[in-house]
Symmetry: C2
């Protein structure tokens, strides 16, 4: 039989040495974060208790490129460059003339794209003399990545994990502990915010908002401790652009140009990381892919949210961020793609969406898991629940090509494997998974109570 190339592999010497900052290439910059009291843009001093200077500088930089430190590159090389795959076997199963590629981030130690930013965050904190990082995690992908990164740079790592996930997904907690992190069930007795919740309900299932409050409280109260966030912010998306820069090299190696790029969006870091370098090429007129963000129908911030200033957390402890939001007290249905259950969206990605540079699509989770199953049985990799959304959108596009006969080149962001999420597949296989509709009444009522920001 004819030899088909499945993997486009780069040598370590081809690992990108700088991150790409999309902001200076946009027609206008994104609106700045505001202090909720003064409604003035937040400055470095406001952020210093939580982040080291290098990361604050990256958050607001106007430079197009930021050099990746050698110490970070050395850890990246444990798994990067990550492979780009041509999905020959999926194409054949679909009977499509489309050529499907997927950039696979599940080869990282934590099994997702999250270490791309966890590693530099740990590095810059260690360089600044920080001894300990705190963070929150839901299902645990971000906590696992930060635990791994802290082990690489000799930092203590303390994770507040949403109580319900802590109870239901012990494998993720054990992975964090294997890397040396300390994991607390949130709400915990260790913080004032945790104790106040527990006073009402000692077995409270927790929420991402509460876990953020606990991690931030501990970091703010100890000069040797800082806080780390796994998505949403500019510097996080900046670090993730290593994905897209590699993918550009890989497409060049096989002489292809994508017509369509699809990725899932929770806070936006996986999607931004893959697509921003392609967006640079698009803005420069060197290619013209359709770029599509895919979100769960049960948490549709881009497709049904309001573009407004809102808090990044449920408790209202963060600066106000201009973003597509369902309201900071919106509680999504308990779908299985935990990494996509965020009420807001990266302000930078929201801005890009407002500029009309990307499209957005919301999909029900049963369609996504059907796609995940078909992907596993053809390509072998069991996708995490989050990227099944991208796979489902990719399959829609490929089937449309079967109808139209178009030989489109589709690029899909496969941001992680599902090894720690198998109960979600069990629910799908047992026909116990449902799709929830979000009624208009549930959307954004909390926004009415927010301070009015002058235009």
């Amino acid at each position: 039989m004819a030899e088909l190339q499945h993997k486009i592999v780069l040598d370590e010497s081809q690992l990108p040495t700088r991150w790409y900052n999309l902001v200076p290439d946009l027609p206008s910059p994104p609106p700045p974060p505001l202090h909720p009291g003064t409604l003035q843009p937040v400055g470095p001093a406001d952020l210093a208790p939580l982040f080291p200077d290098d990361l604050i500088a990256q958050e607001v930089t106007g430079e197009r490129y930021v050099e990746i430190p050698g110490e970070v590159l050395d850890v990246y090389r444990l798994w990067r460059p990550s492979p780009l795959y041509r999905a020959h076997r999926l194409e054949k199963a679909l009977g499509t003339p489309a050529r499907i590629y997927y950039k696979y981030e599940g080869v990282s130690p934590a099994g997702s794209h999250k270490p791309n930013t966890a590693v530099p965050q740990a590095y810059y904190n260690a360089s600044a003399g920080v001894r300990r990082l705190t963070t929150e995690t839901g299902a645990g992908q971000w906590g696992t990545a930060l635990a791994f990164a802290c082990a690489q740079f000799g930092l203590d790592c303390e994770v507040w994990q949403v109580g319900a996930s802590y109870d239901q997904k012990p494998y993720r907690r054990i992975a964090m502990e294997t890397y040396g992190a300390t994991v607390h069930r949130s709400p915990s007795e260790l913080t004032a915010s945790g104790r106040s919740i527990r006073a009402g309900d000692a077995h409270h299932p927790g929420s991402l908002g509460i876990a953020i409050s606990e991690a931030v409280e501990v970091a703010a109260g100890d000069p040797e401790t800082r806080y780390a966030l796994g998505s949403v912010l500019n510097h996080v998306l900046l670090h993730q652009t290593v994905i897209g820069e590699e993918a550009l090299l890989q497409f060049a190696a096989v002489g292809e140009v994508p017509d369509v790029i699809v990725g899932c969006t929770g806070g936006g870091s996986n999607f931004g990381g893959l697509t921003f370098p392609f967006l640079r090429e698009k803005l420069a007129g060197r290619m013209s892919p359709v770029i599509q963000a895919v979100e769960p129908a049960s948490c549709p911030s881009l497709t049904r949210g309001t573009y407004a200033y809102d808090f990044g957390d449920t408790a209202g402890m963060t600066p106000l961020l201009k973003m597509h939001t369902l309201g900071h007290d919106f509680v999504p249905d308990p779908i299985h793609a935990g990494g996509l259950r965020y009420h807001g969206m990266s302000p930078l990605l929201s801005h890009v969406y407002e500029l009309g540079l990307i499209e957005a699509l919301a999909l029900p989770q049963t369609e996504c898991f059907a796609a995940g199953l078909q992907f596993a049985r053809t390509e072998g990799i069991i996708p995490a629940p989050e990227p099944t959304h991208a796979v489902a959108a990719c399959i829609r596009e490929a089937l449309a090509c079967r109808e139209s006969g178009e030989e489109k080149v589709i690029l899909t962001a496969l941001c992680g494997h599902g090894h720690f999420d198998m109960p979600a597949y069990a629910a799908y296989l047992a026909d116990e998974m449902t799709d929830e509709d979000v009624t208009d009444e549930r959307l954004a009522p909390s926004l009415d109570a927010l301070p009015t920001v002058p235009a």
Copy 2:
């Protein structure tokens, strides 16, 4: 900082196109399997109800090389060639002048080396018109690999999983089902052998021996069904030699030659797969590595077993195999490296050990998990419990080099990741893991009851 190369990556075009058969290069062939009734060597007709002709031919072939079919290579390319890593960060943590390399098989869809043989077994069965494969699995690594392989070739896959593992490790079962396999808790009501056990205890925890009996019984009773085995037999070790052939190319690429090769041994397929091509080079005088098999102290078939004819399964349904055995009714302590809890050893590997071509070492599991933890925190990958044995032996060797100042090149077989085995790490971290000694009284009493084989 200076750039260190972590991964030695081969292009798909460098994927080996043939498997290596060690037998013709040995000074004498291994003793043949015998029919337990006649004590005569088994012939193809004896095996035909269980295996297709192509695999039976490979089991007894005298050819040095067997061509890998194009259809198998096309599936191999989903993850092969697998990376060879230089463990710079582990070396630094150990302060050793040794250079440590590890060949990582966890990049396969099933997360271990097992698909290397599952894929050709599924292919040859599908080519022979077989419709369904049955097999047994303990912890589930083999069952997962066969489920994946059957999905690739449109075969039904039916797995009998040891009851205790079925109950305790649901993630593995879900992975098999995600690939489309049907998984039964063994002992089951579906077979006579299962029913006879369940009659005594409806909640019997099962054993590998019982699960084999069920899978063999179903295969033997249906002309469109065959049985697949994941280790021990010659054709299984043959398929795994793709690991060692790749590693030879990768060492050549960096201009290194291993002084020591360590791998863990259960049935022997991971160890044989990596080391046989190096053994070919050693027998030809082109290199002279020390080759060391590492087994658990609680199941020490090579280091404390008897070299004798014994049954491959507990129930005595298989041919008699000349191997290092602890007795077919030996029940190892419930250690966490489920893949190493086998009473016997591959006859081919046993023969190689008798010829003095390899060494063997038994290690307690707590030392292995300590090594696994150190590996995860330096190299990022969480090893499966089985290869922590190889990692522990590698660390012993590297620390000896620190004492002696020798700059040895050590090659380690990292045959899989531990994503589905996290409870084992939890037990270690909670200080709940113990080491069991095997008393001499427990070793091999069942051998006395076996038929005497004429010399």
